[in-house]
Amino acid sequence: MEGYKVYVDVTAEFSAEGVLTPKSFRWTDGNVYEIQRVKDVRRAASLKAGGVGMRYTCVVNGRDSYLYYEDNNMWFMERAGA
C-alpha cells in the first residue's frame, strides 16, 4: 500500500548561527516548490505519515504544509488524502 509518508529532496540553508531553514523541496511530481516562509519549528509526531522529527510549518503557494526533518537526516512530508 502506498503510504502517506513521502520522502522528498530538500534544498536548505544553514545560517552562520547554525540555524537550518528549508528553502525548497521537490515533490513526487518532479516539480520544485519554493518555501516562502517557515512559520514554526518544533518537534512533533506525524500520526498521518508515521514518524517523528523537527516539524517545519512551511508556507508554500500561500498554504501551510508540514515538512519533517527526521533523525536519520531525511525529510518527509504527508501525502494529502484521507
Binding site: 500520526l47 508515521g50 517523528v52
Partner: protein, 432 residues
C-alpha cells in the same frame, strides 16, 4: 555554631521530604505504540511486537490495547496470540528505535526536573517538587508532560502524581491508557487502599499468596496489619511492604546520569537445529558475545560479570555466572569466559536448544580499577583496537562484511541474528 546548623539542615531536609511531588510516568504499550506510530496503515488493528514472525520461535514482547482485549499478553508464544486474535499483526522489535524514543521522552522530562530515575526503558520517576513554583502543581506538570508526549512523540503515557515513589507508581497503573491519577496524602487511603495487594510494587505471585493466606487481600489490609506479623512471615520485606502500604516510602528519586540506565546487556537465541557438541556451542557463544560486547561498547559500558544460560531440548535450563578479573567489553574475553563457564558446567547429557550470553554488573567507560600484575595489558590493548576496527568496518560496510573464522565452520548456525533478540533489564527498586 556548627551544632546549631546541623539540626536545622536536617529539619529542612525533612520538611522537603514531607512535601515532595513525585510523578511516575509510564509509556503505554511502549513498543507497540512506537510501531503503531510508524505504521499508520495499521491504525485500529491489533498489533504485537515480538520475536521473528517467520520462524517457529518468538514471544510477544508487547501487545497493543486492541490485542490485549482479545487476551493477548506479554510473554505469550506467537502462535498462542494468533489463536486468540487471528487478525493480529506481528512485527519484529526494533530496539534502537525504542531506545531513541525513550531518550526523547527523557529529554521532555528534563525540561521539568533533573531528578529523574528510569525504571526500565519506558517508565520513569520524576521528582518535580522544586519545579512547582514555576511550572505549577504536580497535576498540571503531569498534564503538560502528557500533552507533549502526545504531540511530540505521538505516544500516550499514564502518570501517577503522589508524595512518594511507590504511590506514584500505583497511580500510573491505576488507570490506563492516557490518564493522570493523583495519590496525594489525603487520598491514598480511599484510592490506594482498596486496590488488590498484588498491585503493590514488590508483591509478586508468591508474596501475594502468602499474604492472602493471612487474609490480606488489599493494600489497606496490608497497611493495617501488625508489622511484626508481616516480619515473621516475610522477613525484612515484611517491614518494607508494610511501610510502602502506609505511604512511609521516602526513597529519593535518583539524579539522572548517576547510573547506567540498564543493569545488564544480554542476548540469547533458540537455534534452528539442536546443538550437539562443543564446537556448535562455541560458535553460538561467539555470535552472542560479539553482539553483547558490541552493544556494551556502543553504550560506553564494560561488564564485570559474565553469565551464560543454557536450555536443553527438554527445556531444562540453568544459568551460571562469574566475576571476571578486569571489567571488559572485549568480545574475545567475554566469549572465552562464556565458553569456559559452559565447559565447566555441562556434561552433554542432552542436546542444547537455546543459549544466552550476558554481561552484568556494568560500569561505565570511565571506571578505574586496579591493574593486575599478571594480566597482559598489551594484548588487551590490541584486542580493544581490533574490536574498535571491526565495529568501524561493520558500521561502514554492514554486519556481514567482516566475520570471525569460526563463523565459517557452520554458516547456517552462525547466521543467527543475535541483535534481534534484545533484552533490557531495569534496575531493581532497591539500591544496586
Amino acid at each position: 555554631m556548627i551544632l546549631e546548623v546541623v539540626p536545622y539542615k536536617i529539619a529542612e531536609e525533612e520538611t522537603r521530604m514531607a512535601g515532595r511531588v513525585i510523578l511516575h510516568s509510564d509509556c503505554n504499550c511502549f513498543y507497540a505504540s512506537v510501531e503503531h506510530l510508524h505504521r499508520p496503515e495499521l491504525e485500529g488493528k491489533p498489533l504485537a511486537v515480538g520475536g521473528d514472525p517467520e520462524s517457529r520461535h518468538g514471544i510477544v514482547l508487547t501487545a497493543d490495547y486492541i490485542a490485549k482485549r482479545y487476551g493477548v499478553k506479554t510473554g505469550m508464544a506467537l502462535w498462542e496470540a494468533k489463536q486468540l486474535c487471528p487478525e493480529i499483526t506481528f512485527v519484529s522489535p526494533r530496539m534502537d528505535l525504542y531506545l531513541r524514543f525513550s531518550r526523547m521522552a527523557h529529554e521532555i522530562y528534563a525540561d521539568y526536573t533533573d531528578l529523574q530515575e528510569p525504571y526500565g526503558i519506558d517508565e520513569s520517576w520524576l521528582d518535580v517538587t522544586d519545579s512547582a513554583s514555576i511550572k505549577g502543581d504536580g497535576y498540571s506538570i503531569a498534564r503538560e508532560i502528557s500533552n507533549r508526549m502526545k504531540s511530540e512523540l505521538g505516544i500516550t503515557v499514564s502518570i501517577g502524581v503522589s508524595f512518594n515513589k511507590i504511590f506514584a507508581k500505583l497511580g500510573s497503573d491505576y488507570k490506563k491508557p492516557d490518564a493522570i491519577t493523583t495519590m496525594y496524602e489525603s487520598e491514598f487511603r480511599t484510592k490506594a487502599w482498596n486496590l488488590p495487594v498484588g498491585d503493590l510494587l514488590y508483591v509478586g505471585r508468591s508474596t501475594k499468596r502468602k499474604l492472602e493466606n493471612l487474609g490480606i487481600h488489599t493494600i489497606g489490609q496490608l497497611a493495617q496489619t501488625d508489622e511484626a506479623i508481616l516480619i515473621s512471615m516475610l522477613g525484612k520485606m515484611g517491614s518494607v511492604l508494610w511501610a510502602f502500604a502506609n505511604g512511609f516510602d521516602d526513597s529519593p528519586v535518583r539524579k539522572e546520569n548517576t547510573h547506567a540506565p540498564i543493569k545488564s546487556v544480554g542476548n540469547s537465541t533458540t537455534t534452528h537445529r539442536d546443538l550437539v557438541n562443543d564446537e556448535d556451542v562455541k560458535i553460538i557463544i561467539y555470535v552472542l558475545a560479539e553482539s553483547v560486547a558490541a552493544r556494551l561498547r556502543e553504550n560506553g559500558f564494560r561488564c564485570r560479570v559474565v553469565e551464560i544460560s543454557i536450555r536443553d531440548n527438554e527445556l531444562y535450563s540453568f544459568t551460571r555466572q562469574r566475576k571476571i578479573a578486569n571489567a571488559t567489553n572485549i568480545t574475545e574475553e567475554i566469549a572465552a569466559e562464556g565458553f569456559r563457564l559452559f565447559k565447566e558446567n555441562y556434561d552433554w547429557r542432552k542436546p542444547i536448544r537455546s543459549v544466552g550470553v550476558r554481561g552484568a554488573d556494568l560500569v561505565n567507560d570511565n571506571y578505574w580499577e586496579q591493574m593486575d600484575l599478571f594480566c597482559d595489558f598489551k594484548l588487551r590493548d590490541k584486542l580493544m583496537k581490533m574490536d574498535a576496527t571491526v565495529d568501524d568496518i561493520r558500521r561502514r560496510f554492514g554486519f556481514y562484511s567482516i566475520q570471525r573464522g569460526i563463523m565459517y565452520q557452520d554458516r547456517i548456525l552462525s547466521a543467527v541474528n543475535a541483535k534481534d533478540d534484545h533484552t533490557v533489564h531495569p534496575h531493581g527498586y532497591f539500591n544496586q
